[in-house]
């Protein structure tokens, strides 16, 4: 292995208070230099996000978050109904839970984009179309 210079690292630093490694002791590697905030990691048992806010910049994104939330609620109720009693092994039951999973995955990905990657999916669209209703910007944690 060729040895080469690495950015000087503080090897004795301990981050035992936080389970993840933090680049805060090292000079920026050129990638995202966002400040590490103290928020629970996705891998801890306490779930991340869920409620409103948490990073959506544009109205359109907030609407999508809300829509997905609704879909999840609806589909869980539908699935419980479709799987009652003998119907538990039916195709309807399986499809119903698959719909729940689809919406849950979509919601989780959106949350990941907003909270970890700090990107609003409408960024590029709203850059080109700032006047549309979907691109109304929220300041801070306005609901």
């Amino acid at each position: 292995m060729a040895s080469s210079s690495i950015t000087p690292l503080n090897l004795s630093s301990s981050f035992s208070s936080r389970p993840i490694l933090s680049p805060s002791t090292i000079t920026s590697l050129g990638a995202a230099t966002r400040r590490q905030e103290k928020r629970p990691r996705a891998a801890t048992v306490k779930a991340m996000g869920g409620g409103g806010g948490g990073g959506a910049k544009y109205k359109g994104t907030k609407m999508r978050e809300a829509r997905l939330r609704e879909i999840i609620e609806e589909k869980v109720a539908e699935a419980k109904e479709a799987c009652e009693g003998e119907a538990a092994a039916s195709a309807e039951c399986r499809v119903a839970w698959d719909e729940v999973e689809e919406a849950s995955q979509a919601k989780a990905h959106l949350r990941l984009k907003l909270e970890v990657l700090r990107q609003d999916p409408l960024e590029s669209f709203c850059g080109d179309n700032p006047e549309t209703d979907e691109c109304h910007v929220f300041d801070g944690d306005e609901e």
């Binding site: 090897l11 490694l21 590697l29 699935a79 499809v95 719909e99 999916p121 409408l122």
Partner: protein
């Protein structure tokens, strides 16, 4: 016959197509000695170079398949992969905001949900889940992946996960590296044969359950029971259609609960295996200390202090679905930077370009889930392996015309 296509990067729609004979005395330089034609009118080279353009010749695109059951936008794996090549992967600019595609300078990531033949309503009517092959158009998938691999742009459908509908197609141009991610990248034999490398993300049931709890418990409508029911209901289709693909994968990342803490079922500490097929062209498995031998290694001790429960590595040859494989396993998690560097310095065949590259890549994305355990580590290593594979393939293609001229 090699087909080369010119794309202007500003406009999605202006393309000029020219073909060059593959056997030519021009050798490597064939790309530079081409005249550009635009709708019959001859345009000088100089005129076009004022508009940023890129030329893509057939056979340039390397295709990677990634199978997993966590939906598209496995953003963290993809970001690790694309960042190894440099540049960040973004959704396509100016198109459908609900597009699932990610594009960086070198890489385009396509979500295979875009090849659903049935939308949400259609699937409900027919009584099939998204996992079912009947809900997917493998003919179109094959056709388009083949076209992209050959350097041709395609109009790829978009599956909108919010509305559950199939939206109008988006123009997708052939990249240097095409990643197809989703439930069925290796299901259809024809598509499988187009893949230069394939990965399967295998999450064990216990870990899946723990992750879904973390993911869904905060959502209104979900409860422990509903999460459990959802997993159970999807199991039959998953086991019938998705799971069997892992036998075809060149690399499998298997995520299991830890063995370091007896009775642990919280899923916080993970045991992750990197199962690497032997004999795959351009892919040399990572190893610990002595290739082909069996090793058990606990790095924590006199030189390295780890906090509970520590880290344990194993490495060795095994058989997986009748194939010879090498398995590298990490159980536990990293708490400090020096643990990561120490581990990296003892692994061989990483395909890193400099000492500490794996550590640096892990740090770049330290906020991503999995950054302190085997999932992040092995995803990063797979990224380096893919880079290595890509470089070897392109080098061998460049050498081919030279060989032809010598003949």
């Amino acid at each position: 016959m090699a087909v080369c296509t010119v794309y202007t990067t500003q406009s999605l729609h202006s393309t000029s197509s020219i073909s060059t004979p593959s056997k030519t005395h021009l050798g490597f330089n064939q790309k530079k000695q081409i005249l550009f034609y635009n709708s019959g009118k001859r345009v000088a080279n100089r005129g076009i170079t004022t508009v940023p353009w890129v030329i893509r010749c057939s056979g340039d695109t390397v295709v990677i398949g990634l199978a997993a059951d966590s939906g598209c936008g496995k953003s963290t794996f993809m970001r690790r992969l694309t960042s190894v090549f440099g540049g960040a992967a973004e959704p396509p600019k100016g198109g459908n905001p609900d597009s699932n595609t990610l594009i960086s300078d070198t890489t385009t990531v396509i979500c295979l949900d875009d090849y659903h033949s049935l939308d949400r309503t259609g699937r409900k009517e027919k009584g099939v889940t998204a996992l079912d092959p009947r809900a997917n158009d493998f003919d179109l998938m094959y056709e388009q992946v083949k076209a992209l691999k050959e350097g041709k742009a395609v109009d790829k459908p978009i599956y909108n996960h919010v509305t559950g509908l199939l939206d109008p197609p988006e123009l997708t141009k052939p990249p240097k590296i095409l990643v197809i991610e989703g439930l069925h990248p290796m299901f259809d034999q024809r598509v499988r044969d187009l893949l230069d490398f394939s990965i399967y993300l295998d999450i064990s049931n216990e870990v899946k359950f723990a992750w879904k709890i973390q993911r869904d418990m905060a959502e209104r409508g979900h409860s422990l029971e509903s999460i459990k029911a959802s997993i159970e209901a999807r199991k039959p289709d998953f086991e019938a259609y998705i799971d069997p693909q892992k036998q075809y994968a060149d690399a499998v990342i298997e995520v299991l609960p830890t063995r370091l803490i007896p009775g642990d079922n919280e899923g916080k500490i993970l045991r992750v295996k990197l199962i690497m097929k032997e004999g795959v062209k351009y892919f040399s498995p990572v190893y610990l200390f002595d290739e082909g031998s069996t090793i058990s290694w606990i790095p924590c001790g006199r030189k390295l202090t780890c906090s509970y429960p520590g880290i344990k590595f194993t490495y060795g040859p095994e058989t997986y679905f009748g194939h010879e494989v090498s398995v590298l396993e990490m159980d536990g998690q990293f708490d400090r930077l020096d643990e990561l560097i120490y581990v990296e310095s003892h692994l061989s065949n990483l395909s890193s370009k400099f000492y500490g590259e794996v550590t640096q890549q892990m740090l770049k994305h330290s906020e991503f889930p999995g950054s302190n355990n085997g999932t992040g580590l092995f995803q990063t290593i797979v990224g380096l392996k893919i880079r290595d594979l890509y470089e070897q393939i392109t080098a061998s293609k460049a050498a081919a015309p030279l060989e032809a001229t010598k003949a």
